[in-house]
């Protein structure tokens, strides 16, 4: 049962953390499109101030050494589903190449107004040689969501360090999947006295464990191996 939620170690880069509701950092997973297999990634959008944001793409499974382009797109008219809506480009990421392992990390600093609401409905990753080839897309607005209303990320991450959880306090809407990522050196686990199925196996460096909080409430969890290593997640109504 544990194995279903233990995810293989991934490249972590800079996208640890986040109360999605805090509006300082939002995370959006990329989904693979078409026949692209093994390609994945995540977009993090950190809002530093009313006039400054940093978007970071962390990608893997790309063709090693291949050139790519990535853009924010506005929500188009072809579909209510952002990634299928064929909206116009609103902001471009710097051109980049995948490294020898098929990985890439790209940063873009921008005025948040340029990607606010439906102006930043989704991010596409294209091959540079043929922009019609789009192996990855990350939707920033939800299907059926009120247009122009940014939504919170459906997943957040918590660092499992030696010997602390970071952030120690987190607030997420119901239905959010929380993923604990082991960033330390020694074994830890994630357990709860009140939620029977919130129980990870032993986590070692690079391991991940995920749990989706469906019911509003305050949940305390802990590592059973270390003194004082506990944290709290508050689950709010959506």
């Amino acid at each position: 049962m544990f194995r279903r939620v233990l995810i293989s170690p991934l490249i972590l880069s800079s996208f640890m953390l986040t109360p999605a509701s805090a509006a300082t950092l939002q995370l959006f997973p990329f989904k693979a499109l078409g026949t692209a297999g093994g390609v994945s990634g995540q977009l993090s959008v950190r809002t530093l101030s009313p006039t400054q944001s940093v978007s970071t793409l962390t990608l893997r499974g790309l063709t090693p050494g291949r050139a790519y382009a990535a853009h924010y797109h506005a929500l188009g008219k072809a579909s209510a589903e952002p990634c299928a809506s064929q909206g116009p480009i609103t902001l471009g990421f710097p051109a980049f190449k995948a490294n020898a392992r098929g990985q890439a990390t790209i940063l873009l600093r921008a005025d948040p107004a340029r990607i606010a609401g439906t102006l930043g409905a989704y991010v596409n990753v294209h091959t540079a040689s043929d922009l019609t080839v789009v192996p990855l897309c990350a939707a920033l607005v939800k299907t059926g969501a009120a247009r122009g209303t940014p939504v919170a990320a459906d997943s957040v991450t918590v660092k499992v360090g030696d010997n602390l959880f970071q952030p120690a306090s987190l607030s997420v809407p119901a239905g959010t999947m929380v993923t604990w990522i082991h960033t330390g050196q020694i074994t830890h686990n994630v357990l709860s006295l009140t939620v029977a199925d919130l129980k990870s196996p032993d986590l070692r460096p690079g391991d991940r464990y995920s749990y989706t909080f469906k019911t509003p409430g305050t949940y305390t969890y802990y590592c059973s191996y270390h003194d004082g290593m506990s944290a709290t997640i508050t689950v709010t109504n959506r």
Binding site: L191, L193, K199, D202, Y222, C223, Y225
Partner: protein
Amino acid sequence: MFGHKIVLGMATTALLGSCSMMMGMGGTTYTFKHNPNAADPAAMGKAVAIRKDTMVSTTLTVSGLTPNKAYIAHYHAFGPASSTDPCASNGPVTLGFPSFTSDASGNASVTVSGDPAKIAGDMGAYINVHYASEPSVVPICAPVKMTKG
């Protein structure tokens, strides 16, 4: 003095047989049992908890550890994984002993003094001794409270 403690611990174990706890003027004694794993197969020992004024002082005296190896030990609350076997219940740490290192013979003794409220009832269900380098390895455990609630 240290060897004296070991002898006392063994004597206590022999007297208690299968019983893991002994009440007396010298405090309450809990006997460590070996967990079902291969770590430190000869490890054994006891924990003696003595009330002193407003604090509880607990001394672990253990033998059969890996010589010169660093360990950590904690009181744990009753965890969610079992209601009748505290050592298998995976509870949170409620009171930590100072880190310690076994001597060249694999013996060690360590004491912690804490607020009794921290280990009252289900809050002090068992004491684990872990490898410091790999806390998921727990050679021995002393049950303190056998049933949750």
